[in-house]
C-alpha cells in the first residue's frame, strides 16, 4: 500500500506552452502533484485538458519547439529531470521510468522483431549481453502472459493481435525494472474483454514489482477499478485531487461532479435522461486569469471570472480548485 509520507516523483509548477501559427497554446498551467511509492495514480479529464502533454513534459518527450517548458521542477531520484543533461535523461527514459502509449501499432517499430525491440533497452540501459538479454526478453513476454514466448520473439508486430501488442509494449516498459510506469490510455484502443485482461495483468505486475504507476484515461470506470488516488484535469490544470473512493463519493469540483453524472451505468440505476455538460471546453490561448470551467459551471459566482482558484483542502487527502467548494468546507467548520 502507498506510503503517504514519501514520494518517488514530485512535480511542481509545471507550465508547458506550444507556439503555433494561431498563437500560443497554454496546454499545461502550473501543474503540481506527487507520486508515492507503489501507488496507482489515475489521471482523468476531457480531451485536450493536458493529460498527455503533462506526462510528456516530465521526460521532455515533446518536440521543442513548438513546445516550450516555461517553468517547473520534476524531482526524481534526487535530481530535477527538467535540468539534467541529455545522457542522464536518456538513461531515465525507458530505464527507471517506463512508459506505454495508447496506440501500440505506432509505438512499435514494424520492421524489427518484437524480440529485438525488447532486447534493445536491456542491452542499452542494463548492459546485458546478447544471450542474457534474450533470456530476459523471453521472461518478460512470459510475465505479460504471451504463450510460446521463445518462438514469438522472432515475430514482427503485425503478427500479434491488438491486445498482444499492448502486452508487448508493457513488457518493453517493464524491461529495466522501472520505479515508475507512465501509461497513457493503454487500453483505450482495446475491446472491453481484452481491456479487462490488461488491467488484471497491470494490477498483478504492480503488486509483484512494487512500482508506482500513473494511468491516464478518460474512462471513469477504469479509474474506479484500479486507482488509489485520482487527479482530475480541466483546461490544462489539475482541478481536483483525492483518494479514489473519496472522489467518487464526494466530488467537490463542479466539473468532476458533472462528469460523474454524464456516464451511464451497466449495473446501477438507469436514468431516463442523461445529464449533460453544456458548452465547450476552454480555448487555451493565454495563461488563465479566471476559472477555466466558469462558462460551463452551474455554480459559478462573480469571483470565478476575476480570479483563477488555487487548490484548497476540501476533505481527507482531498483538494479542489473551486471558490464555491472551498467556501462550503469553510462554513461547515464554523
Amino acid at each position: 500500500m502507498p506510503d503517504p509520507g514519501q514520494t518517488v516523483l514530485e512535480v511542481r509548477n509545471l507550465k508547458t506552452v506550444f507556439q503555433t501559427r494561431g498563437g500560443e497554446v497554454h496546454a499545461v498551467n502550473d501543474v503540481s502533484f506527487e507520486l508515492r511509492p507503489g501507488e496507482l495514480l489515475g489521471v482523468v479529464g476531457e480531451s485536450g485538458s493536458g493529460k498527455s502533454v503533462t506526462m510528456m513534459s516530465l521526460l521532455k518527450l515533446l518536440p521543442i519547439p513548438p513546445a516550450e517548458i516555461r517553468s517547473g521542477t520534476v524531482k526524481f531520484d534526487g535530481k530535477d529531470l527538467l535540468r539534467v543533461d541529455a545522457d542522464t535523461l536518456r538513461a531515465v527514459r525507458g530505464g527507471k521510468i517506463g512508459f506505454v502509449f495508447q496506440d501500440p501499432m505506432t509505438s512499435l517499430n514494424p520492421v524489427f522483431t518484437v524480440g529485438m525491440q525488447l532486447m534493445e533497452p536491456l542491452r542499452k540501459h542494463m548492459g546485458l549481453s546478447k544471450s542474457a538479454a534474450r533470456t530476459r526478453a523471453r521472461e518478460l513476454l512470459e510475465l505479460v502472459g504471451i504463450p510460446d514466448a521463445a518462438r514469438r520473439l522472432k515475430d514482427y508486430p503485425h503478427q500479434f493481435s491488438g491486445g498482444m501488442r499492448q502486452r508487448v509494449m508493457i513488457a518493453i516498459a517493464l524491461a529495466c525494472d522501472p520505479k515508475v510506469l507512465i501509461a497513457d490510455e493503454p487500453t483505450t484502443a482495446l475491446d472491453v474483454t481484452i481491456q479487462a485482461q490488461i488491467i488484471e495483468l497491470m494490477k498483478e505486475l504492480q503488486e509483484r514489482l512494487g512500482m508506482a504507476v500513473i494511468w491516464i484515461t478518460h474512462d471513469l470506470g477504469v479509474i474506479a477499478g484500479i486507482a488509489d488516488r485520482v487527479l482530475v484535469m480541466y483546461g490544462g490544470q489539475i482541478v481536483e485531487q483525492a483518494p479514489v473512493r473519496e472522489l467518487f463519493a464526494n466530488p467537490r469540483h463542479p466539473y468532476t461532479a458533472a462528469l460523474l453524472k454524464t456516464v451511464p451505468s451497466v449495473r446501477g440505476a438507469r436514468a431516463d435522461r442523461l445529464t449533460i455538460i453544456e458548452g465547450q471546453p476552454p480555448i487555451l490561448n493565454a495563461a488563465p486569469a479566471a476559472c477555466p470551467f466558469r462558462d460551463r459551471c452551474e455554480r459559478r459566482i462573480e469571483r470565478c471570472a476575476r480570479e483563477n482558484p488555487a487548490r484548497e483542502p476540501v476533505g481527507p487527502g482531498h483538494d479542489a480548485a473551486c471558490f464555491v467548494a472551498a467556501a462550503e468546507v469553510e462554513s461547515a467548520h464554523v
Partner: protein, 352 residues
C-alpha cells in the same frame, strides 16, 4: 426510452443475412476463401424502437448495418424493409427506397466533405432525391439545423470550424433531410468526448420521439446501449449469439459471451469493483476468415462442453423475446448431454 417495442409492427425483418468478403491470393488472384463478416443473422426491428447492436471490434456490426441498408450486395439472405424485400434487389432499383433508410457514421470528421459548407452538406440529399426549389431547400436545411440544435447563423461555415459534437449534429441533420423512417447509427458517439456523448444521445432520443424514428444503434459502449436501446443484440464473430429486451439482457445475460462482456465493463463506482466477479476471457477473437468448428465462441468460452467443438448451436427463441445460440440452453438431452443448463442464476460466473 420504451420498455416494450413502441408498436408491435415490424419495420425491418432480417433472415439469415450473410455478407462474405472474398479473399484473393497469388498473382492470378485466385479466390482463397472468404471473410465471413456476417454469417447468418436473423432479427426484427420494431417500428419506433432502438435496437442496440453490440460486440467487440471486428465482430461484424458495421458490416451488418451497411448490409441491411444495402450499401453492399449481400451474399445471401432476406431483408424486408417496411414489407418490401430488398435483399436481392439490384442497386439501380433501390434508389426509390434510399430516402427511407439512412446512416449516421462514427467519425463526423471523416464523413463530412471539408470543402462544402454546412448548408451544402445538409442539402445534398435534397438535391439528389427531391424536386424542391432552391428557396424551399434552403428553408428545409434551416429547419433541420433547428431540429439538431445547430445555430442557423452557422449555415455558411465549413466543418472544420465546428467541434466534434457539432459535426456529429451536422451528420445527423443530413441523415434526417429526406424524412427517413429507419436510421443505422454506426458508433455515432465513439469519437466524442464523454461530456459531449450525452448531448448527442439525448438529441437522438428527442428526434426519435418527435419524428417516430426507428434506430439500429451500433456501439461497443455497453452502458450507453443500456441507456438508449429498447432491445439489444449481441454479436460475436459474425453471428448474433443473444438478443433480448434491455432489462432482461443486462439483469440476466444467458450466453457465456454476453456474461463475460458485461462483467468486463468497468463500473464508474469504486464500491462496485470490490464485489465484482470478473470473467476474464482467455485468448483472442479468432479470425472471421477461419472461424472454429462448432460454436464460434468455443475457443474462449469458460463453460465450453464437448458438443460445442462439434456442432454450431442453433439460434432460437428460448422464451418469448429471448433469443440465444448456446448448447447450455438446449434442453434436448441427446445434444446437451448430462451437463444441460445449470441454473444460471446461481452460477458464480455472473459478474454482478
Amino acid at each position: 426510452m420504451f420498455d416494450a417495442p413502441a408498436t408491435s409492427r415490424k419495420l425491418v425483418e432480417i433472415r439469415d443475412l450473410k455478407m462474405h468478403f472474398p479473399i484473393y491470393k497469388g498473382v492470378f488472384r485466385t479466390r482463397a476463401g472468404a471473410v465471413k463478416a456476417v454469417d447468418g443473422v436473423s432479427f426484427d426491428i420494431y417500428e419506433g424502437e432502438t435496437l442496440g447492436l453490440v460486440g467487440e471490434s471486428g465482430c461484424g456490426k458495421s458490416t451488418c448495418g451497411r448490409a441491411i441498408l444495402r450499401l453492399y450486395d449481400i451474399t445471401e439472405g432476406s431483408i424486408l424493409m417496411d414489407g418490401v424485400e430488398i435483399g436481392p434487389t439490384p442497386q439501380a432499383r433501390l434508389r426509390g427506397m434510399r430516402p427511407k433508410m439512412q446512416m449516421v457514421f462514427q467519425d463526423p470528421q471523416a464523413s463530412l466533405n471539408p470543402r462544402m459548407t454546412v448548408q451544402a452538406i445538409i442539402q445534398e440529399p435534397l438535391d439528389e432525391h427531391t424536386t424542391l426549389s432552391a428557396a424551399e431547400k434552403r428553408e428545409k436545411v434551416l429547419e433541420l439545423m433547428d431540429a439538431v440544435g445547430l445555430n442557423r447563423r452557422f449555415a455558411g461555415r465549413y466543418p472544420h470550424a465546428f467541434s466534434g459534437g457539432q459535426r456529429q449534429r451536422i451528420g445527423i441533420a443530413r441523415a434526417l433531410a429526406l424524412n427517413p423512417r429507419f436510421i443505422v447509427c454506426d458508433e455515432p458517439i465513439a469519437a466524442l468526448d464523454v461530456s459531449i456523448q450525452a448531448q448527442v444521445v439525448n438529441l437522438l432520443e428527442d428526434l426519435q420521439r418527435d419524428f417516430g424514428l426507428t434506430y439500429l444503434f451500433i456501439s461497443h459502449d455497453l452502458s450507453m446501449v443500456r441507456h438508449i436501446a429498447t432491445r439489444v443484440a449481441v454479436m460475436y464473430l459474425g453471428k448474433v449469439v443473444e438478443l433480448a429486451g434491455r432489462e432482461p439482457l443486462y439483469a440476466e445475460p444467458l450466453h457465456p459471451y454476453t456474461q463475460a462482456l458485461l462483467s468486463a465493463v468497468p463500473e464508474a463506482d469504486p464500491a462496485m469493483h470490490d464485489d465484482a466477479r470478473r470473467i476474464i476471457l482467455r485468448g483472442d477473437v479468432p479470425s472471421p476468415a477461419n472461424p472454429p468448428q462448432g460454436c464460434n465462441f468455443c475457443t474462449r468460452c469458460p463453460r465450453v462442453m464437448e458438443i460445442c467443438r462439434q456442432i454450431d448451436p442453433e439460434y432460437r427463441e428460448l422464451r418469448p423475446g429471448r433469443f440465444v445460440a448456446c448448447h447450455l440452453y438446449n434442453d434436448d438431452p441427446t445434444t446437451a448431454g448430462a451437463t444441460a443448463a445449470p441454473s444460471e442464476a446461481t452460477e458464480p460466473q455472473q459478474g454482478e
